[in-house]
Amino acid sequence: MSLDKDQVQHIAMLARLKLDEDEFDETVEKLSRIVDFVDQLSQAATENVVPMAHPLNAAQRLRPDRVTDAIERDQIQRNSDFVAGGLYLVPKVLD
């Protein structure tokens, strides 16, 4: 099943990815090939098969809800140039 340009545009928006004009056509083509390829899965007999989310079927381990982070905020925030007062700065969201 091939994808059309509108679908790819929509997927790119969902994924918050800006695609350049010149890469767009190639992306549509390659994504279509991938989707065609994975369509084979529809042939598998999976009635009553429980979906496997974890390869060892292990359950999520829980821990007590206690703050344990050991890394200093300043140290972490060194990887952004847009920090003030411990906050990350972004373009205005609300008017």
Partner: protein, 491 residues
């Protein structure tokens, strides 16, 4: 061949450890020699993103002091390199991507910590396919890595830099990660040993996530013995990784000895078909005969859903990566687009600029298969097929101890050969992805050559069967010499 007659760069970790212990050379001398080699040879291979020379020499001095004082862990003074997917405190961690080209990690990954506290010395961070997405190390923002066996060819991927560094004898060992085959396939294509442990055996804390239910950390070395040594320090429960399994770590090195008499080896009927290069198949059959001569019995087993491994992987891995890579939004770390008009523009352009084409494709594939209207047909379906694949292995392991076959369908291919069609590239992982989907431990060991290019034998064990596959690999290496062969320009 005794260690003192062999040049340092040709020695394995195990041999180097003995040399350090007996005082033949110091960690500083060893580190200096390898750093010099890296300086001379890396430009051609492009195996490194960062070389941490000063840090390495300081660590080497400390290792020598520790040794003199009678202290020091199991890996005291032994050199290795880390795939650039592992966070290393104070050191650039790029994941092969423009998105993180300036990212200096504020912390160490669990395996980086563990190996360092055992005394290992990090010489640098290796090049890799961007965000671990690739089988040829051609998607890296920092340029492709070349195979030391033939510089026009790929070393495989995504741990291509690690594999090339070890195969080229720039370093004796490297860490890697494996999501669909990214340790084992490059190991096969470069004539090195590559092991992916059982899912949950090694902590993923600090390992930049690609596909959380598939990713595992492992190593690329020149011998199974070395892999056993490193795995012993890396494996074990870590409460910071919520998928880490709490289970004692056996002494993998001690477990290497013991004959293969009576070992039941399964040969998969579906492996030796049209998809496998004929000459590769012949070499692998030769290695199976070798296992037989060591006492193993060969039995045919069935993995009826083998053909669906790659399509399943092509749904599950992108789906998980689309979620994991959503953290790269330009806000807190990583590339931020300049002069964004609004928040949406900030997200879209930061990610559009920061990610390469393959990464964007996988994120979009993942987004698509998880989107409303498609989730059931693709993602849910893939998870069901995953269960079938896992079941196939379970049934096989009721009859055999180990499953053996080729690691890759062809020897190393030329750079540029497979970049046009994504499917052709994904099919490199046909034999390896099953172990990721089923969470099984697997190792690739050099088992011969086709037209002077290395071929790998793939061994898969049941869950937590690392000891068994390491022993099988080690005994094979005690009786063969493939793993000692070095590429001509790197001897």
């Amino acid at each position: 061949m005794s260690q003192s007659s062999q040049e340092l760069h040709l020695q394995t970790l195990t041999q180097l450890a003995a040399g350090l212990d007996s005082g033949e050379f110091s960690s500083v001398e060893l580190t200096q020699e390898l750093l010099a080699r890296i300086e001379n040879l890396n430009a051609t291979l492009n195996a490194f993103v960062t070389v941490t020379a000063d840090q390495a020499l300081a660590a080497a001095r400390r290792a020598d002091e520790n040794r003199a004082a009678g202290n020091g862990g199991a890996l005291n003074g032994l050199p290795l390199v880390h795939k650039d997917i592992f966070c290393t405190q104070g050191v650039l961690t790029t994941c092969g991507s423009r998105m993180l080209e300036n990212f200096v990690s504020p912390y160490d990954a669990a395996i980086v910590e563990r190996l360092a506290s055992a005394g290992a010395i990090m010489l640098g961070k290796t090049n890799m396919d961007e965000f671990a997405m690739g089988s040829s190390n051609e998607t890296s923002y920092f340029g492709p890595v070349r195979n030391p066996w033939d510089l026009e060819r790929s070393p495989g991927g995504s741990s291509g830099g690690s594999a090339a560094a070890v195969a080229g004898r720039l370093v004796p060992a490297a860490t890697g990660t494996d999501t669909g085959g990214s340790i084992r396939q490059p190991a096969a294509l470069t004539g090195t040993v590559g092991i992916k442990p059982t899912y949950g055996r090694v902590s993923r804390y600090g390992m930049i996530a690609f596909a959380s239910s598939l990713d595992q950390a492992g190593v690329i070395t020149r011998s199974a013995e070395d892999a056993a040594l490193l795995l012993g320090s890396m494996a074990g429960f870590d409460e910071r990784d919520s998928t880490s399994i709490d289970r004692p770590v056996p002494d993998y090195v001690a477990g290497l000895s013991g004959s293969l008499k009576g070992l039941r080896v399964g040969i998969v009927r579906q492996h030796f078909d049209a998809g496998l290069d004929v000459q590769c198949g012949a070499v692998v059959r030769g290695s199976l005969a070798e296992l037989e001569s060591l006492g193993a019995t060969l039995t045919e087993v069935d993995l009826p859903n083998l053909d669906l491994s790659v399509p399943t992987y092509c749904v599950v891995a992108p789906a998980e990566c689309s979620s994991n890579l959503s953290r790269f939004d330009g806000v807190r770390f990583g590339r931020r687009a300049e002069n964004p008009v609004d928040l949406l523009d900030l997200y879209c352009r930061s990610r559009g600029e920061g990610f390469g084409a393959e990464v964007k494709r996988r994120i979009m594939t993942g987004t698509y298969v998880l989107s409303a209207g498609y989730y059931d047909a693709y993602y849910l379906k893939a998870q069901q097929v995953r269960a079938l694949i896992s079941d196939d292995f379970k049934k096989a392991f009721a009859r055999v101890d180990v499953i053996a076959g080729p690691t890759a369908p062809t020897p190393a291919f030329r750079l540029g050969d497979k970049t046009d069609d994504p499917i052709t590239m994904y099919l490199n992982d046909i034999y390896t992805t099953g172990a990721n989907l089923a969470g099984l431990p697997a190792i690739s060991v050099p088992c011969g050559f086709v037209e002077e290019l290395p071929i790998g034998l793939h061994l898969v064990g049941p869950h937590f069967g690392e000891e068994m596959i390491l022993r099988c690999a080690h005994q094979y290496q005690q009786n063969t010499d493939w793993h000692n062969a070095a590429p001509e320009a790197y001897r």
